[in-house]
Symmetry: C2
Amino acid sequence: MQLFMAIPPSLTALRSILAKRKLDAYILTSCYAHYGESIPLFADRVQRISAFSGSTATVIVSKSEAVILVDPRYAIEVKQSVNHDHFSSFVFDRASGGLWPSVVKPDGVVRKNGGIHRIGFDPLALTGAAFRAMQASIAAIEKEEDRPELVPIDGNLFDETAGDLPRPSSPWFVHRHTDNTVQDRIERVRALSKGIKATHLVVSCTDQVSWLLNVRCMAVPNMMGVIAFAIVPVAEGEPVTLFADRADMKENKVDEVLEAANVVIKPYEDFTAALTELAATAGVKLACDTSRVASTPHFISNLCNDEDVKKALTTKLFPVLEGITYLTDAEVKHSFASHLRDSAAITSFLAWAEKQGLADTDVTEFDCVEKGHEFRSRRENFLGPSFDSIVGFNANAAIIHHKPTAKEPGPTIAPNTCLLVDSGGHYLDGTTDVTRTIWIGPDAPPPALVRAYTVTLRGHVVMAMARFAQPYTYPMVDALCKNEFWREGMDYAHGTGHGVGYVGGVHNSVIASANVAMGSPYPAPPLKPNCIFTVEPGVYDYDAGFGVRIESDYVTQETDVEHPTRKTPFVECAPLTIVPFERALIDVSQLTKPQVDYLNAFHAKCREQLTPLLQKEDPLGYAYMKRQT
Amino acid sequence: MQLFMAIPPSLTALRSILAKRKLDAYILTSCYAHYGESIPLFADRVQRISAFSGSTATVIVSKSEAVILVDPRYAIEVKQSVNHDHFSSFVFDRASGGLWPSVVKPDGVVRKNGGIHRIGFDPLALTGAAFRAMQASIAAIEKEEDRPELVPIDGNLFDETAGDLPRPSSPWFVHRHTDNTVQDRIERVRALSKGIKATHLVVSCTDQVSWLLNVRCMAVPNMMGVIAFAIVPVAEGEPVTLFADRADMKENKVDEVLEAANVVIKPYEDFTAALTELAATAGVKLACDTSRVASTPHFISNLCNDEDVKKALTTKLFPVLEGITYLTDAEVKHSFASHLRDSAAITSFLAWAEKQGLADTDVTEFDCVEKGHEFRSRRENFLGPSFDSIVGFNANAAIIHHKPTAKEPGPTIAPNTCLLVDSGGHYLDGTTDVTRTIWIGPDAPPPALVRAYTVTLRGHVVMAMARFAQPYTYPMVDALCKNEFWREGMDYAHGTGHGVGYVGGVHNSVIASANVAMGSPYPAPPLKPNCIFTVEPGVYDYDAGFGVRIESDYVTQETDVEHPTRKTPFVECAPLTIVPFERALIDVSQLTKPQVDYLNAFHAKCREQLTPLLQKEDPLGYAYMKRQT
């Protein structure tokens, strides 16, 4: 309860400053200038003020009220974790108009009691896309006098009243598992920048700065990236400026490596002033990632205002994103190696979990999370999880983002359980994301589960077997997978897959499937060789007591298939994830002959590649793998 | 030779006026303000000046040269039809940078000899998209002094020198095969316009004006549409203004119907001045179809310059296009009826062609074009062809746009021929587009042809059997079809299909498959119910001596499939085209069980529905149909 006790003073303090700044309300977000899988506590003002335990919410504090807005995934979590004496909570969905309209509309949950006209926000803790969405909702308000004003305030008012927390500190290191040096990266980005007519790139996302400078650290949970800003002049020879804490670079002498590559290191705090000054310089045309992922803060995207650049970015990727999306050959080779080790770890976990279930032990879902982590930790080059593991038994497997915790460890394992595990790791030589669903006997699985698994497997395998003519894109091909579900009247309420960053962020949303990409007015990038992405269809039937998802990582590779009707090369998917599928849940009669051939060949590959990693080290896992394949 | 003799004077006259207008060159296009399947002679200045026999080219006349630029489809035609004493020809492709860069770049074919700086054009005979493409190419030219200037000239200089031809005249009639009146159409468009924030819509395309006012005529070959402009004020009660030749409306009293619906009819020639005046009026926000199809003339799209409207049109369809794309239930019902009659006509044609081939007659490809037309003409409500028929025997079938003519009728039919026929008709109650490929025995077909046909059929049937979760779009689902080819290493160099207008233009490019849509920065519209589109994959192997295409028209319909994982309805494809597939070319072993079941059910439907139309009227066609099904 301590955390709840601490909140009212910070709320009161924030409120007291509102009047001084002539504001009627202030926005706190779960978002910060460097974006990523998770947000460090210093920047998570939503958690700090409200104790909300989920990962994304928005808090609006006015003189008399404090509202926390969450999407339907967090409907239960917000009730359980937030003190409703001080906050009212609101679950927005399409029916309520979505998040930002709920905030700015006169009859929305935030403004419905009147008196809110000037709404302040921290321009580094709100994305440009969010700002534009609010603007659009405001423009749609009929009467001009009903429209609120959005007021950017330099610095964060919550930090000002509740006190800054230090940014997390972690030693930086040069990322050696690539054939590119920092000079190579900068050169590549400069070459790509010519196509967008910018003079300078402004880079703020954790994974983007890390990729650009070929550095990593472990400051932020689940992310392999640094907390820093970079400004890249497109002109050759001009230094790249990095805004970051030099102290973190000392241990591994990263500052020396960067300075040798003509990177000028300035204090983190200098960024805002430096960018403002640069933007005001004649002839400067700034570019930032407003293209697709749109996670760039309002402060930066507001300064990147050149019409030519903005137009170019409607058809071309932001150069740093282009680099993150298409790996080098050496990085792909590393990815094969790291994924194989990860596959061995997951196979070991599945064998262990099956044994626990058959023995009816008191292993919980959260124990499974920890055990999975333990198996990964034993493997070479492991750094940490790439996201919080999802583990669900039976009906819990139907909750798409079910993440057991030490506080809520979930049920204990039992015979005849459907187990879904979705987890991933960062290794020095790659990032993984894998989901398997298994049946723990001893009885035969229910036919509805077998049907769901077989349809899911069919969808997965259709994608895995597909060849793509360029320039097809992920949103154009994920219908291949969905079609297998649609034919059965089924569907899943998430994308078919997403890009996977290379030792950065596990979600590279440049590659995203149709239902995610639908919102973007920009064309998706083509599936050229050396893209890594997941294929992860599923069937979620809570009432029937099961959920199924089958996820592997694939990398696009050029094929040498030739045919008179096709002169240019095809791209096909090579599996990086080498974990067997669940034999007990496959109804072979519902597969085509080529699909059965593909699965047999894949399982032969599992045997061949996993044997050296399991045979001696983990006899249980080895026996399980042999049985499944 | 008469035509060639006549050309030099018109070239000379045009050149003489260039100096007077201070121009170095002038652009003539195969494009006019009303766009459509074909261009009437009065507006086809390219044909009139050069005698070019293809359907699309661009001519640039300068003081000393005249260059005709064509895409690779017309490489042979341009050589054969254009007099190279007076014109040089140039085939542009991606390697040469495309059409417009070839025109404007200093080292391009048009400007490489120097002296061309001011290039004039008719702003009603050049699309806004073409203008923007030229501008972009010009902006990319490094040195400012190398950049040419584009000069819009009111009126067409060719017409001014060679003389106007009259616009084709044809009596207008009210289109009764719909449940919508002109008032309904205008109301629907007004309702849709609120979402794009425009005050007025400017409509110029033949099929769009015709849809809006619910009128048709046969002035332009292959198009069921009027030559007119319309301006629609979004405000209720304000009259729609139509710019057209009232004389054409008299015979069927169409003017009275329109005036009763508060449409003001003004002379065609008044349009330019009226739009210019309207655009200069305070508070006016014009919208035109710049959204996707981008066939709007530069003159109009230049005046439609409101930023809010332009932005809205990046995510919403131009309201008139929305109306054309999603039919009413009554129109869908009519389409089923017209397509069935059309299917009977094509079945009769296939039976007749097979008989001619087996008998080794001297029937040519062009005879087949005429015979197909004859079979259609016998059917109720037939108006005319919806495009020039494609008929190819053997290797000619591999030429995607092979259109035999009276002058070049092609080879004569023989036993053991692969015949491809792609044709369509306008009926009062619908527009069709259908392709069948058949094998004329008596011998067994070559295995390579059977393989190609079976793969094509598989791709076709996968689409036909698919259900789509909304809001999937055509570019997102055509991979379902292409995947069947990709798996075999095959591909086809055209889209999988296109939307079909309802008694308008046979190509409604709002619905277009991936390779067409890739160029558009705008999202494709969702496959909601009541869209009509084609599915037309193919395999083209000229060297092997055959081409295969299988094309049917489908309409999207909501299904009542229910499943716990899918709460909202699916959309599926109902076949409008009821013509049997070619039994002799199907290798059943390469189909899945559900595909075989689908084909058997489809052929049963052919028997059931075609029998009443063929049994008495065409015993030969009836016997053929029974044999094939």
